[in-house]
């Protein structure tokens, strides 16, 4: 190692602070060779100069120009979380109160649901009675309308007669209503034309 100066790659090994079997002779050589010592010091000075090179700043408004081309997209789960957070009270006591209220409310809901499930048969019975009432009311209302339009004898004849007769009665009713509607429209149109 004493018969020649260090090669550039050997200088680089020393600059990188490499450790190992092959580096010890290089270090020993640098200690004894003024030329290689000077070269290593110059290389170290270059590294220092490189390490202290300044950063450059872009012009004012660079960030705004970048942001004008960036599409800020809020995913649905983040948006949902933001919305949910708006309902959380800001102060600690208010949060505790809201937590207690939520616990009581959910407890009541759970108890109500448990009771409803346990009393399912009563629920079915009440629903059945309610449905029967609705059906009876609807039947009575339909019967009143038919009596008003056809008269009691017409309704009796329709209920007591054959299916063909019922169809003829319904068809006649629809035809009369249709003609009434057409007549009223014609009347309204001629009235508008006259004006």
């Amino acid at each position: 190692m004493q018969d020649r100066h260090l090669r550039p790659d050997e200088i680089e090994l020393l600059l990188d602070g490499e450790e190992g079997f092959g580096v010890a002779p290089l270090r020993a050589h640098v200690r004894s060779c003024a030329s290689c010592h000077a070269e290593l010091e110059e290389a170290r000075a270059l590294l220092l100069a490189l390490d202290t090179l300044p950063d450059f700043a872009p012009s004012v408004g660079f960030a705004d120009r970048v942001m004008s081309q960036v599409q800020v997209f809020e995913p649905w789960h983040a948006a949902a979380l933001t919305t949910a957070r708006q309902f959380v009270p800001a102060t600690r006591p208010a949060r505790i109160a809201a937590g207690l209220a939520a616990a009581v409310g959910s407890g009541l809901l759970t108890a109500g649901a448990t009771w409803a499930v346990a009393r399912a048969d009563i629920g079915f019975l009440l629903a059945q009675v309610g449905l029967d009432r609705v059906r009876e009311q609807a039947g009575a209302a339909a019967s009143d309308v038919a009596t008003t339009v056809l008269g009691q004898p017409g309704l009796d004849a329709m209920l007591g007669g054959s299916a063909g007769m019922t169809a003829a009665a319904v068809g006649g009713f629809v035809a009369v209503v249709g003609m009434g509607v057409v007549g009223l429209r014609a009347l309204a149109t001629s009235s508008r034309r006259a004006r």
Binding site: E42, L50, D55, A57, V66, Q69, A78
Partner: protein, 200 residues
């Protein structure tokens, strides 16, 4: 959502996560953190302020518009530098000015043609460098860096200006670790040679 002061104290990974949730302040914080390093890297690569701003802007826009694709196993800054470097290298490849100025025209068939084309472009480069010298890239070391091959320049910038490890540079530039070491060693050797006349 943290305010801008709180954002400034968060690590990159947390700021990126907030950006992925669509927080505009987080995007701005990432730009604020890296606008200078990215601009410096690109400026030293292309040596034109206006162009460097445009290319840096492209790099940021690419990264921030695809922030959802960022994988947290890598450093955000490495990803950003990788895109910025690719943008700069792509631009230089399109212009091909550096390659031609160092080695002569690729279309030259004889030694004299190569020399002639290299000299002509070297003159142009010198005038550009003279102009830069009077502005921001004033020092001899900046001039020497400007003459390095773009690959060497990127490695040197990342190693010494940004303080990245060899492994990080290899990941950032998609190069084998040995290649990165070789590039940096050769670049430093070339810089020493270029600065030698100043010492004498």
């Amino acid at each position: 959502m943290p305010n801008p002061d709180e954002l400034a104290t968060l690590p990159d990974a947390d700021v990126v996560r907030l950006a992925q949730q669509g927080r505009e302040l987080a995007f701005r914080e990432l730009v604020r953190r890296y606008e200078r390093p990215v601009f410096s890297l690109v400026f030293r690569m292309v040596r034109d302020r206006e162009l460097a701003e445009d290319l840096s802007q492209d790099a940021f826009v690419k990264v921030l518009n695809h922030i959802d694709r960022y994988s947290p196993e890598f450093k955000f800054s490495s990803w950003l530098f990788k895109i910025a470097n690719n943008v700069a290298i792509d631009h230089l490849r399109r212009r091909r000015i550096d390659t031609i100025s160092m080695h002569g025209s690729p279309h030259a068939s004889t030694a004299s043609e190569i020399e002639a084309s290299a000299l002509n472009l070297e003159d142009e480069q010198e005038s550009a460098l003279d102009e830069l010298e009077s502005k921001e890239l004033g020092s001899a070391i900046e001039r020497a860096i400007a003459r390095l091959r773009p690959e060497y320049r990127a490695c040197i910038m990342l190693r010494h200006v940004e303080g990245r490890s060899y492994e990080e540079i290899a990941a950032t530039l998609d190069l084998p670790l040995g290649t990165v070491k070789t590039y940096i060693h050769r670049a430093r050797h070339e810089l020493r040679k270029a600065l030698e006349p100043l010492r004498e």
